[in-house]
Symmetry: C2
Subunit: 337 residues, 2 copies
């Protein structure tokens, strides 16, 4: 959180003027005061008036922001809940509590985030569901509030992120399918602006080339990140002539609708269309035939996120100059039958 | 952060009007309130915590407590997330924010709750996953903190609750199966101490009698509330001789493992074992053959919970003398083929 000196530096006016503006003294021009207040809100300035804890910006709480309304954004239930449970254990050992901040469908994520910052519920924030262009990241960079992004974005130049290794999974997935003789591969990514979709698509197309295959952008399918999206995908795949012989899914719950659509068309998942998916989860564990999928250590991921945010909070007075990222690996190469 | 005076100056209206707008008083024009709220958000207005919040116990936040660790307790992902998204819209219109409080697996729910209360994160609380004996309820009754329980308990004598109408669903489910000629009915309930398991079991046994059938307590199966629990259930059902011809599930994700187990044994769900489940959800919508299940209006439930908690908060100075409950109905009687 920004102090009065940083605020004064940012505005290029004296600390005294900023202070008088913030305290609403009469000897400050209206325009100056408006400028100071706007900058204070924008930079997340914390006033010194509300007791020791507030002076230190200490609520001993951190926020895990996520989108509660989007059917796909919450990543199939147990994804976030497992991450959160594990992160919370790490925070708790430091006498800090994690609260989840659900952004509803009737508000943009950046507006929601600004309100949370204004309300000073938390000392630090974990962002999720990063989009390609994500104004939350530039906003938090400006405010100086410690945060970590679970996911990357083209926004932001000096933030800490941890993202799933979509590149690695796309590469391994394509290599596996190519080794099994597939030459006409499709990929399914979210239709939303989720950054992972772009990363996964690009890595997929690169991997095709690496395996001596033609990158075919028309075999990149953007569908809803949900069971329904998988059903839509089955229809789109079946309409192609020649049909792709394999598809890589960016989200495992798509498989539920995809299996259904294939079976309704008299086709057998696996035999008539090879399918490889990210992330084994309880919901798909009982699909028949079994869905080849990568695994994720969600427990470890949650702990890593918590540790990264604790580091950011500890170093809050040392502004970041560059971004710092980490790719969290997918595990256990899927097996094709 | 901006104070109320700065906010009033910025808007060029009186502090009194700003205060009434922020406190949602009826004598403020809609357009004015919208302007005030927009400016408050933009300028990062927050009520003075050292004054107002500590005196009145006002954080303008409410907590939605849930268990992040338990595989079954979170009710199949979109259950809580849909409820929360809808509740949040209601709170937001009153200038209150909902935060989710995840209780991890390394702590008892009552210890976690006590810490949350001590930390004064929130002005009111929604409890979920109530257990038969639930010390959280008696604790909150003693503290006088406004709360609403999503679920009932034998603990507590003067609290507000909203629970799913498990009795109604059990009654309708048994009647439906009996009408289709089934005489040997089983029921699957959570193996945990979740209160719903007891309610559902008792209602199930009563309904058998109402339909002229023998209540058979040995056909009450307690399994994990999960896909895996459904697989365990299939094994237990198949081991019975004579085998039940129908089963009522208290949790829809059990069906995923149950279908798998039956199909592996060469049996067809629906034909060889009639299955009726609570709550249609995206995860089971594509099961083949279709799973007959009751529906729930989660959006309405979330709004109802929020309204109930707002009422409790408004009447916090008038201690409750008795409990007040509401059964939230299941909809759309399942169809058996």
């Amino acid at each position: 959180m920004t102090g009065i000196k940083a605020l004064a530096d940012h505005l290029g006016i004296s600390i005294g003027t900023v202070s008088r503006a913030l305290n609403n003294k009469p000897d400050v021009k209206k325009a100056t005061r408006a400028r100071v207040l706007a900058a204070a809100a924008e930079l997340g300035y914390a006033p010194n008036q509300s007791g020791r804890n507030l002076r230190k910006g200490k609520t001993n709480a951190v926020g895990f922001m996520f989108e509660a309304g989007d059917p796909g954004a919450h990543g199939g239930d147990n994804f976030f809940l497992s991450v959160v449970a594990s992160a919370q254990s790490v925070f708790k050992a430091r006498n800090i509590d994690l609260v989840m901040l659900p952004c509803g469908p009737d508000e943009t994520p950046v507006d929601y985030l600004k309100r949370m910052v204004a309300r000073r519920f938390v000392d630090g924030i974990i962002l999720t569901a990063t989009t390609r262009d994500d104004p939350r990241i530039s906003y938090l960079e400006r405010t100086g509030i410690p945060f970590v992004a679970l996911g990357r974005s083209t926004s932001g130049t000096r933030y800490r992120w941890i993202d799933l290794d979509f590149e690695g999974a796309a590469r391994e997935g394509v290599r596996l399918l190519a080794r099994h003789g597939h030459r006409r591969l499709a990929v399914a990514i979210p239709e939303s602006d989720a950054n992972l979709g772009y990363v996964f698509r690009d890595a997929f197309l690169d991997a095709l080339v690496e395996n001596g295959l033609d990158p075919q952008p028309d075999l990149v399918f953007r569908v809803e990140s949900s069971e329904q999206g998988g059903l839509d995908l089955s229809e789109q795949l079946l309409a192609r002539d020649p049909r792709p012989t394999a598809v890589l899914l960016s989200y495992e719950l798509m498989a539920i609708g995809l299996y259904h659509g294939l079976q309704n068309a008299g086709l057998k998942p696996g035999d008539d269309l090879a399918i490889v998916s990210l992330r084994e989860s309880p919901q798909i564990r009982f699909l028949s035939p079994a869905l080849p999928s990568f695994r994720l250590d969600l427990h470890g991921l949650g702990a890593e996120l918590a540790q990264a945010l604790l580091d950011e909070m500890q170093n809050r007075d040392v502004p970041r100059k560059t971004s710092q990222g980490m790719l969290w690996p997918f595990e256990a190469l899927p097996k094709l039958t």
